[in-house]
Symmetry: C2
Subunit: 345 residues, 2 copies
DNA sequence: ATGAAAGCGCTAACAT
DNA sequence: ATGTTAGCGCTTTCAT
């Protein structure tokens, strides 16, 4: 167990001063050729590595970015992280991840612990609970402190910072239109409650598509799933509601689900009721994840290009960290969705 | 934009020394009641937060652990991270994540950048390429530096460090036996090539189960999928091989797949060939993920308790960081698998 | 060409 | 009860 060697130790060993060592290792022309070579050789032989913590303290830069996401076991979010990681790494940044678990309190705590020196800036997707409470003081304070923040996917418009958002409304409109063009007239919408911005936008897109196609929206055909910490229960509720619709003989021939899980629930009910997808019911959903690809029939999806969202977020943040852009100037980047057609439509 | 206040600034404002401020904020009894109160009040009013970087430099502790995983968009790994996060957080540690992307080079690079001050210890699952090369110098060097390392899932036995492993062999044996007890005699094994330790162990478990049940292993019924960066291609190859078996009329009535994806490929072929699961073919696989839960029929799986693996890894590491255990003493924790029965068997 | 010294923010042993 | 000082590892300005 050989501890890491420091500049001081090298200096002592070679009977030179610390600053001579420091300069030599930076190939400063100030230092004489032979001394420099000797020092560099010695440092290499002892596998010298600068201590990043000391550098951070000096430069007030950690070269680390903090990512706060609601969940990590989630196709969309883990892909976003992938994108962030990719871009950050090639720009020489590390990524530190904290999970809010959709809790307001944990989100606040996470931001506070990371803000005190650990990181240079944040990439955040806001927790459901925070969105419900509409309390964004922790984010505002971080911004006020002069620490750059990039919000992605789940954003709050009034916050003055960069944002990367999915064109949820456009994607939803495209998805709904897609079903209509396949000849479906009565489209069931499976969405979240309105306080979740992305769910809300997708609902709007759905309504917009209907309007443009001169179809009158039917409130019976809109299910706003009640959020539940227990996702089993949430799914159960949803399935029950869909079955209820079928029992009441409320007719529909297409389903647009705002996420894969809702789509999976719908499929389960269809199978139980011996309804064929896509013949009886065409199905499309948001999130081009594992479920869509491997289920049978495979699902037509609206891809949000999660990795690209991650990359763009990291890019915006790192640009600011490198003082490429003034702090006051904020961008909102909109990532377009695309439809990936599979067997369910 | 009000910058964060420092001890020095507080000291200047209140005309006391820095150490008086420091001691007051730590509620040291050395300081007089009124001065202390005054300082605490002032600090609170200005929202003082200690700079963690300075603390790290002083204490030579960052209270951060580094996690290096092959992939993040992966049910098993993201669950492990979840477990790590959970345990680390409640112990006051942050988690910094680096993805090797199954590349040896990137794994080495990641470890080197993080080792220089950023973190106190590592939790690592080794990349496929590293396992193939059998070059573990980067891990060995980290250990030699006195930095604790915990290996999980993909481990290399000769490294002297803590390890958390899945009872892959036992789980595979149980899975195979489970199929045999359901009356299946000819069980097709879909596994990885041998250099991937977990695949290898699962193959061994399969063989062990057959032996114990006095069934002679048939080499035709063992498909070792050739690793491919392009997973589409990898799946395609696998499907082709399964179809080939069917074409040759090599009979099997059960399938044991070492992961969900292989199982999904098998299902696809079965569906194409109009073979019913579970009637004609019973199917069981490793990884209790999203695919298994939401596919139809839902899959019987061997759960590896990923979150528990993460928690245990974090626990082992943090125990060492807290000097609870001597560095030389290494534990290997084996997490038992359990079978989750669903519709495919 | 080399070195001394200050300073990043904080702690703690050691004065006063 | 309060303050001074050294030091964590490094960079950088300013001597020499």
């Amino acid at each position: 167990m050989k501890k890491r060697i420091t500049l001081k130790e090298i200096a002592n060993e070679l009977n030179v001063s610390i600053s001579t060592v420091s300069k030599s290792l930076k190939n400063s022309p100030e230092i004489g050729e032979d001394t420099r070579q000797k020092i560099i050789a010695f440092a290499k032989a002892h596998n010298y590595r600068p201590n990043n913590i000391a550098l951070s303290l000096k430069n007030r830069k950690t070269k680390t970015i903090g990512v706060i996401i609601p969940e990590i076991v989630h196709y969309f979010f883990s892909n976003v992280i992938n994108g962030i990681e990719k871009f950050a790494n090639q720009s020489g940044y590390n990524v530190i991840i904290a999970v809010s678990n959709e809790s307001f309190e944990k989100e606040v705590l996470n931001m506070e612990t990371l803000a005190n020196g650990h990181i240079d800036g944040f990439i955040v997707s806001i927790a459901k609970e925070t969105l419900k409470k509409q309390d964004f003081h922790h984010i505002q304070e971080t911004i006020d402190l002069g620490m750059p923040v990039v919000l992605f996917d789940r954003v709050f418009n009034d916050l003055k910072c960069d944002k990367v958002i999915v064109d949820d409304k456009g994607g939803a409109e495209a998805a709904t239109t897609f079903l209509i063009e396949k000849g479906r007239k009565n489209i069931l919408l499976l969405t979240t409650q309105d306080y979740i911005s992305v769910g809300n936008l997708r609902t709007q897109g759905y309504l917009e598509a209907l309007k443009k196609q001169h179809i009158i929206a039917d409130n019976n055909l809109i299910i706003k799933v009640i959020d539940n910490k227990n996702s089993e229960q949430e799914m159960f509720d949803l399935e029950w509601q869909i079955e209820n619709l079928l029992d009441q003989e409320i007719h529909f021939d297409g389903i647009f689900a705002v996420n894969e899980i809702y789509a999976a629930s719908a499929m389960k009910v269809m199978r139980k009721r011996k309804l064929n997808i896509p013949k009886d019911i065409a199905l499309i959903c948001f999130t081009d994840g594992v479920i869509s690809r491997y289920s049978f029939p495979s699902l037509t999806t609206v891809s949000q290009h999660a990795e690209e969202i991650g990359e763009s977020s990291a890019e915006l943040l790192i640009n600011k960290l490198k003082d490429q852009y003034p702090v006051e100037e904020n961008f909102t980047k909109i990532i377009k969705c695309s439809i990936i057609e599979r067997e369910s439509t």
